[in-house]
């Protein structure tokens, strides 16, 4: 199995992001996803920063994939998606059917925000050029295994294995709303929250995370203890979604577990409120945690 680092889902400071990608050049991961999935207004890096970051990662032996926006509404967002698809030379992750429509006939990665739930849809995406499929986060591992067993030839399967789960998208910016700011005068307030804002129930249970127009879980999904089951299900790639704390240790733990087959690798205690979860794996509530 390979390790992938997913796109940064938050608005990180440019220097921090550049340092993060520089460190990934030396990290034991195989694939790095770059680009913006959540908000078209954000600029984690400047447009001219990305090619250099990508080249450094490629020089370090990483496969680089450019992810595209999950919610595309405006013409300008369609144009950005098209520009990325054209320049990525087949190394693009489609997260909206607009990107599939645009990339059809060329290789692409079918991202986690496309709704691919059955063999017929998966076969169609493969026929259009999908060489890799990132399963929807809510899909049980048993279903992934069923689809994997009959997968189109050559298709790789990737699973969201670590991180706050991307659960929903909206036209509304919940981070701006929480600060009583209008969306178009947001002042990029989300930049103050490198792991999003935790939303608690009125009993102080960490429940969700506000990340701009995206809603995530508060709990970090951690599938490290289930690597054996993931391998048996035919999963080829584990996606680790960047968080601001402990990420190098998380990568090391997954790498050690993959290389040694030992899931009992030491693993950072959860530093974000909400702890760990893994319920989706068993077809249960995603928030559940068996460990």
């Amino acid at each position: 199995m390979k390790l992938a680092v997913g796109p940064v889902l938050y608005l990180w400071d440019r220097t921090i992001a550049l340092d993060f990608y520089a460190a990934l050049c030396d990290a034991p991961v195989d694939i790095v996803y770059l680009g913006e999935v959540v908000c078209s207004k954000r600029r984690v890096l400047q447009r001219e920063d990305w090619p250099g970051v990508a080249q450094a990662l490629r020089d370090a032996g990483k496969e680089v994939v450019f992810s595209t926006l999950a919610l595309i509404e405006a013409e300008s967002e369609l144009a950005t998606m098209a520009r990325i698809a054209d320049s990525a030379g087949g190394h693009v992750e489609a997260n909206d059917m607009a990107a599939v429509q645009y990339s059809a006939g060329r290789p692409f990665v079918a991202g986690p925000h496309l709704n691919i739930y059955n063999a017929a849809t998966l076969a169609m995406m493969a026929a259009h050029g999908a060489r890799r499929w990132v399963a929807p986060v809510e899909m049980p591992l048993a279903t992934i295994a069923t689809l994997g067993a009959a997968r189109p030839p050559g298709l790789e399967i990737e699973v969201f294995a670590y991180g706050r789960l991307p659960l929903a998208f909206s036209a509304r910016c919940f981070t701006a709303r929480a600060q009583n700011r209008p969306k178009d005068e947001c002042g990029f307030i989300c930049g103050d929250y490198p792991d999003g804002i935790t939303l608690y129930s009125r009993e102080d249970q960490p429940f969700l995370t506000l990340n701009g127009i995206q809603t995530q879980s508060a709990a970090v999904q951690n599938l490290l203890p289930h690597i054996g089951a993931l391998r048996s299900a035919g999963v080829d790639i584990l996606r680790l979604s960047p968080q601001s704390q402990d990420f190098p240790a998380v990568i090391r733990a997954f790498r050690t577990a993959l290389d040694s087959g030992d899931a009992a690798t030491s693993f950072p205690e959860p530093s974000l409120p909400g702890g760990y979860c893994d319920g989706y794996l068993r077809g249960e509530a995603g928030i559940d945690h068996a460990g």
Binding site: Y117, N118, S170, R172, R177, S201
Partner: protein, 348 residues
Amino acid sequence: MKLELVCPAGTLPALRAAVDHGADAVYIGFRGATNARNFPGLNFSEKEAAAGIAYAHERGTRVFVALNVYPSPATWDAATAVIDTAARLGVDALILADPGLMHYATNRHPALRLHLSVQGSATNWRAIEFYRREFGVRRAVLPRVLSVTQVARLIERTEVEIEVFGFGSLCVMVEGRCALSSFATGHSPNTQGVCSPAHAVRWEETPAGRQSRLNGILIDRYSPGEAAGYPTLCKGRFRVNDSVFHALEEPTSLNALDVLPALMAAGVKAIKVEGRQRSPAYVAQVTGLLRRALDLCAAAYPGRTEGHGDDRAGSPASWTPPADLLSALDALAEGRTHTLGAYHRPWQ
């Protein structure tokens, strides 16, 4: 060509109510986890559907069947059986979200008219174009996240008919892109056709007030005398930083009457009413009220119902929906209040 009114029917009596009160089309679902209103006591058997279709067709009303979940391998056969049944019964259109099912429908029943469900998450013309080229989709229902201006621009770029929501409960998340319910309960709109399902709801009376829980998670707490709503999880009150508030969305209904002329001018083909889970009495009232609104608007702006192209001037400032109509709809609305939702973006 006029702006169509598409109304919900969860049962045969609701279907008759919609037909009798002026719907141009009704949409229904079959029992089981194949549609996005998979609630106990709701939806149609094949026999009921046949009776409903006959009733509607005799009165010039069309019937659409919604099969808008994304079936997994385990539910695939049940889903394709619904397509076969719908084709056999002679429905006027099938409302689908899943590309795999569209592929099946196009192959097996090429004459069957396909609509792209709101659950298909198509929020731009290029995504709609995918479904048109692949499956000949004739109509797309837009997620409730676009402004009127965005709807108008999208229509300029597609030949697919556009249907938008006009009234009913509101999803603040992009439909088909929301796993909040499965995160909390294991059941989601995409897979089981439910959101915040009733079996996971628990009400409690406590000294602090009435509380609603979803799979144990506290969704809301109500002061004595405060109206309590169904605990749809995005409409609960939560704590963010130091404030407790409706962090995602207030319990309120969508009501697009204020922008009806603008939607007509934009070339919208049909206005959809949410609520297959609602009673026949509710469907009768809402259908009647919206029929009146659409007819008033069409009479006031006759040039705007001739379809694409001629008049794109936008919403006439003079249009004000009759106050009695709005108050009657508010009385029926979730939270007894309404919003234009994304059509007009007060948060932008």
